[in-house]
């Protein structure tokens, strides 16, 4: 009977699908393996302290200090959160609690389309509009922590909005109705009941937004000014970990290139920590 053939075929298909499913793990392993293999040796050679806390980046002369870049990455990420966080949360709350059906049908796709605009376009418009604006009204060159924070603040909006919107929407309706039935206004029920109930998801949206900001490259290169020092103020230029890699990878060789991979190791570490926290926060919500 042909059924043996069918059973055999099913078994082969299952094995192929299993192999496909493992491909993601394989790719993840390869990425980590190659970044670490290229990036770690320099930590032995030049010293962990000299790289992570070193102030001077002159890879062709043996200086691999990326401390200013680590600080700058954190600063722009924090700046992006300050600008994009409240705005994104406001949008999410409006969409989830206030907007009518018709309004939602228009607003939600429009806000999601922001995520589709390529980062180079954000950077380009930042250079042409935000940088000159800052130069004219606040002084300096305009290529600055402030300009980078504004551009990144806009870029993290879709992440913040969509994840906190989902968190708000997953709050059971009975919570809202309970609060409203007791004579609360819409805002009182939102502020005292809905937002506290969704706070883990909102927190996760901010952490993932930070992940997006710390990993962003092309837009940052264009507006940050790429100076190799810790910015002293909002109007000072800076260089992030990501920009450092992208600016120099195309011509670097030898230890210089290894230095860029070391930069990548630090970046990957920061991203993993952020993702771990976001996952941790989300999982805690699910269990609750």
């Amino acid at each position: 009977m042909s059924s043996n053939k069918a059973v055999f075929k099913e078994r082969i298909i299952k094995q192929i699908l299993t192999a496909f499913a493992f491909s993601s793990l394989l790719f993840l392993f390869l990425i980590f393996a190659f970044i670490l293999v290229e990036g770690l040796p320099l930590f032995y050679k030049a010293g962990v302290k000299n790289i992570i806390f070193g102030m001077k980046w002159a890879p062709t002369r043996g200086f691999f200090g990326i401390f200013p870049m680590i600080v700058s990455s954190f600063l722009v990420t924090f700046g992006a959160l300050v600008i994009g966080g409240p705005l994104g949360l406001g949008c999410a709350v409006y969409l989830a609690e206030y907007a009518g059906r018709q309004q939602k049908m228009f607003l939600k796709p429009a806000l999601e389309l922001l995520a589709g605009i390529p980062s180079v376009v954000y950077g380009f418009l930042g250079v042409l509009y935000i940088v000159p604006f800052i130069r004219t009204f606040f002084g300096g060159s305009g290529f600055s922590l402030l300009a980078t924070s504004i551009v990144l603040g806009i870029m993290i909006l879709p992440t913040v909005i969509s994840i906190s919107y989902d968190a708000l929407m997953s709050v059971p309706r009975s919570y809202r109705e309970g609060a409203l039935a007791m004579g609360s206004t819409k805002w009182q029920s939102t502020w005292r009941v809905v937002i506290p109930a969704a706070k883990s998801g909102i927190l996760a949206s901010c952490i993932l937004g930070m992940g997006r900001a710390v990993g962003e490259t092309m837009a940052v290169i264009m507006v940050a000014g790429n100076a190799l020092k810790i910015p002293g103020g909002l109007l000072d230029p800076l260089r992030t970990l990501t920009s450092n890699i992208a600016l120099e990878l195309s011509y670097a060789s030898g230890d210089h290139r290894l230095g860029l991979f070391s930069t990548g190791v630090v970046l990957l570490f920061i991203i993993m920590v952020l993702n771990y926290f976001a996952n941790f926060v989300i999982r805690r919500t699910v269990i609750k």
Partner: protein, 251 residues
Amino acid sequence: MEAKILAHNLMVRFGAVEVLKGIDLEVYKNMITGFMGPAGSGKSTLISLVNRMIDFEDGVHIQGSLSIDGEDILSKSVDVVGLRRRVGTVFAVPLPLPRSIFENIAYGPRLKGITRRADLEDIVEESLKKAVLWEEVRDRLQVSALKLSGGQQQRLCLARTLALRPEIILLDEPCSGLDPISTAKIEEALNELKKDYTIILVSNNTKQIARATDFSAFFYMGALVEFGATEKIFTNPSVKQTEDYIQGKFG
């Protein structure tokens, strides 16, 4: 009378819950056998053993034996896909696939490797006729099956099962959601079909069992309480429980 299906000391547990407690039963060839009993009596579980749809449940433990034509169908080595082609099933709710009437019925035959259009057309016509649906849909075979009424959909599902040319047809409360006219049409179809098939009809409706079956089995709490000719069961049951159930005192 020849036994088509034979269950011997059949026990099923879902985790710690016993749903079948040692069933011994013969289902005769070319007869309609009715399974009745209140919800949770184990009649649907028994059906899902015959077509091995129970494989999709988790945590099932099975003991005892169940055979079709003397062949054990619970063993690991049995060809389940082939078995399901021999045992056709009609479910409680009509479940048409989201495709045309024609393609719904041709689904099973195509899987068996029948691809010639003329052959498929013959099978579709023959199956629809046997399910008493042909006259109503003959002009619109390419219309989506979802457009049919509930009663028509259920007869379509019967036709789709017949198109497999099975030996056994299992109907799991096929009329629970249908109006009396559709129910009558299904019963009419079954009466014709028993010449060629062995049929098991699961129903909560004792009147339907009385009308449409030759033999009846009454299940209660996972046990087979009484089995016999339908006429005897309904006129002179030997167990008090059966009598109470038939008279609608519980269930």
